[in-house]
Each structure stands twice: as C-alpha cells, then as structure tokens.
C-alpha cells in the first residue's frame, strides 16, 4: 500500500466533517466582529496621530 491509498479515506474524512451544518449567524458574527475591530483600530490610530501632532506642536523645546 502506498500513501495514495489513503486518498479515499481523506475524502471520507472530509465528508464526515462537512455534515456538521455551518451556522450562518456564526459566520456573519465573525465578519461583523472583524469590522468592529478594524474601525476601533483606525480610531486608535487617529487619536494617537492627533496626540502626536499636538505634542509635537506645543511641546517643542526652546
């Protein structure tokens, strides 16, 4: 027997794992969470950039 003989077993393994139906709400919640994280990251960048600019402008040594 060679490794190729396990090809039908892999197909069976895949078939068994496809029987558990995917929860559409779960997939959508993953996508929504990713969008929330992206928005909050962009927001953080914006705040940090603004603070950096304020500090650069007002806190220059003379």
């Amino acid at each position: 027997m060679n490794l190729s003989n396990l090809k039908p077993a892999w197909r069976q393994y895949r078939l068994v794992n496809s029987m558990q139906s995917v929860d559409q709400a779960e997939v959508l919640s993953i996508l929504d969470r990713a969008e929330e994280i992206a928005v909050s990251t962009a927001h953080s960048y914006l705040i940090n950039a603004a603070m950096f600019m304020v500090l650069t402008i007002f806190c220059q040594g003379g």
């Binding site: 027997m1 060679n2 490794l3 003989n5 396990l6 090809k7 039908p8 077993a9 892999w10 069976q12 393994y13 895949r14 078939l15 794992n17 496809s18 029987m19 558990q20 139906s21 995917v22 559409q24 997939v27 959508l28 993953i30 996508l31 990713a34």
Partner: protein, 167 residues
C-alpha cells in the same frame, strides 16, 4: 456589500468540510478548533475581495486555510509541539490501524506543520507544483519533503496492518 457577504457565507457553507477537516487535522480540542475556524473564516473574508476565480474555490480555500493554520501553529509552536507529540505517542501505543480512516487519523496525528499540509494536499490530489505554489515552497522542496515523510511513515507503521510504500 451585503450581497458579497451572502455569497461568502454560501461559499463557506459549501466548503465547510474542507475547513473543518483542516481544523481537526491540526487541533484536537473543540475550543481550539473553534478558534482556528474563526481565524480561517476571517482570513478568507479578507482575501475574498481579491479572489478573481483564477483557481478553483476549493484550491483558494485550501491555500488560505493552510497558511492561516501554519502561521498560527508557528506562533504557538511550544504548545503545539508538546501536545502533538503526546497525542501521537498515545495513539501509536494504543490504537491499531483497523481501516484506512483510522490509519489516516494516526498519520495526521503523527505529522506536524508543513509536512502535514503537504500530505493533506497530496491526498486531495494536488501535484507537487500546485502544492508548492499554495504553500509558498519550491517544487523540489515539496518533492523532497514528501519522499522523507513517506519513508518516515513506512518506518513508523512497519509493524502495523498497512505498509506505506516509498515512491
């Protein structure tokens, strides 16, 4: 956007067997499988916009899923190494390869990281060149690794019901 999301959910549903099989092949615990499933869905979604249909959807899913898993495995290297060695040792000492699926389970438990990914893609019917493109390796590297893995598996399973023939 909503239409794109609906298409995406349908594609995930149609190909969930691939995703769940890969999660199960790399992670034993339910929670770990759930976590990696979420990571894969996220990465698939991120690259969904740039998927132009040049390859089959299943090929794209294998590529993104395996690269996501391999990146995660690399991050958690210590944890995975200790767990998988323990699991592999346990399965070899207590289980017998009664049928091909049981043997496949043992092979998947024994193999790690990129080697496991190569074997999975080989079992799925991909050629060495295609595997190399999907995993960002050279075709020579894939061929060498596959030969080594076959030799390793033959040695490991020589006392079992099945023998893995070398190329």
């Amino acid at each position: 956007m909503e239409l794109q999301k609906r298409d995406f959910v349908r594609i995930v549903a149609e190909n969930q067997g691939i995703i769940r099989s890969l999660c199960k092949a790399y992670y034993a615990g339910n929670e770990d499988q759930k976590d990696v499933f979420q990571d894969i869905v996220l990465q698939l979604w991120k690259s969904f916009g740039s998927f132009r249909g040049e390859s089959k959807i299943s090929t794209w899913i294998y590529k993104v899923s395996l690269n996501t898993i391999l990146a995660k495995v690399r991050k958690e290297k210590h944890k995975i190494t200790t767990e998988s060695i323990g699991n592999a040792a346990l399965s070899f000492s207590h289980a017998k390869a009664d049928d091909d699926v049981e043997l496949l389970n043992q092979v998947l438990q024994y193999l790690k990281g990129v080697d496991k990914a190569i074997v999975i893609l080989y079992l799925e019917g991909y050629k060495n060149k295609e595997i190399s493109q999907m995993l960002d390796l050279t075709a020579t590297n894939v061929s060498t690794r596959l030969s080594r893995v076959k030799a390793e598996l033959s040695a490991k399973f020589k006392n079992q019901h099945y023998e893995l023939k070398q190329p």
